[in-house]
């Protein structure tokens, strides 16, 4: 029997092995923004509710690093994230919020129930800022340095162990 007979079987086994290996690897569904390292593009958002201040890209260019939090009152992981945003704020981080496709009364109700960690909240009804900075979902959090350059992206809700990471990223660009 020629050794060549074994070649197809070997090739098939190789393929199955490769597929099995890939199947056991954790799936990464995150779409990372290519805008990390780039300056915030121009935008100007109206205040998200009565008594709040709106935001624009110029808000971020005053020398102070900030967190830009993309969220919405209809987003369930945002509720889980709320206490961790609060603790970031307590540890000195300034957090600016962008509310995606949201109503002022819903935003006010959410903040009254889960706390308001934001210094300003803008309203983005058309996901314009989200698209402009390469964010693909809610919630996401960006570290913006004092010149208005995007330095870091956190995808998904902030958990307890993400808090020191974000604080360190803020410290890095200070």
């Amino acid at each position: 029997m020629s050794w060549r007979l074994w070649v197809p079987l070997f090739a098939f086994a190789l393929f199955v092995g490769l597929a099995a290996y890939q199947l056991t690897q954790p799936k990464d569904d995150f779409v990372e923004s290519r805008m990390v390292g780039e300056a915030l593009p121009y935008f100007d958002l109206p205040p998200a509710m009565e008594g709040a201040e709106g935001i624009s890209n110029a808000t971020f260019a005053d020398g102070k690093p900030r967190l830009l939090n993309i969220w919405a009152s209809w987003c369930l992981p945002c509720i889980a994230e709320a206490p961790h945003l609060e603790s970031l704020k307590e540890q000195g981080a300034e957090i600016v919020g962008v509310a995606i496709r949201d109503r002022p009364e819903d935003i006010a109700r959410f903040l009254a129930r889960h706390g308001n960690p934001y210094s300003r909240i803008g309203r983005d009804d058309l996901s314009e800022v989200q698209l402009a900075i390469g964010s693909s979902g809610v919630p996401e959090t960006f570290v913006i340095d004092g010149k208005g350059v995007i330095r870091y992206q956190h995808i998904g809700d902030i958990r307890a162990d993400d808090v020191p990471v974000l604080l360190a990223e803020l410290e890095k660009v200070r």
Binding site: D29, S33, R34, M35, W74, R101, S127, A132, S136
Partner: protein, 135 residues
């Protein structure tokens, strides 16, 4: 009594759904452009862009709110005179290859195009060899 119970359960189930869908879609999410040529260009471009939240649909196909917002962007930019290529590269700049829903040869995707050709070539050579031997 039962009817009241059932309707209250149905209502309670409907609240979270209503909360997410209570905002009207972006103006040009479902509205076509007035100029048919521009709308055709926008439609062609939308077929080649991937919905970011549903991922296996083009934004032309998807009813996700974010896909609606992306269609709005595409249509107002086309209406403002931007070329489809410019809009496409604006999105690729932000989301990388992920947002592309059109197969393109690049430094990472070339094996997908090269391997089938290579296989056909190998098969051709093998078959040629066999036919020759027989003849």
């Amino acid at each position: 009594m039962i009817r009241a119970l059932v309707s209250s359960i149905v209502l309670a189930l409907a609240i979270p759904l209503a909360a997410q869908q209570s905002m009207p879609p972006a103006p040009y999410a479902y509205r076509q452009l007035d100029d048919p040529a521009q709308e055709a260009a926008a439609q062609d471009l939308m077929e080649t862009l991937r919905c970011l939240t549903c991922q296996s649909q083009s934004i032309a196909d998807s009813d996700a709110p974010m896909a609606g917002d992306m269609r709005h962007q595409v249509r107002i930019r086309i209406a403002a005179g931007e070329s489809p290529g410019e809009i496409r590269s604006w999105l690729m700049q932000r989301y990388g290859d992920y947002v592309s829903y059109k197969p393109e040869v690049s430094s990472t995707t070339w094996p997908l195009f090269a391997i089938p050709l290579l296989l056909v070539l190998v098969v051709g050579v093998v078959l040629l060899g066999r036919f020759r031997r027989r003849a």
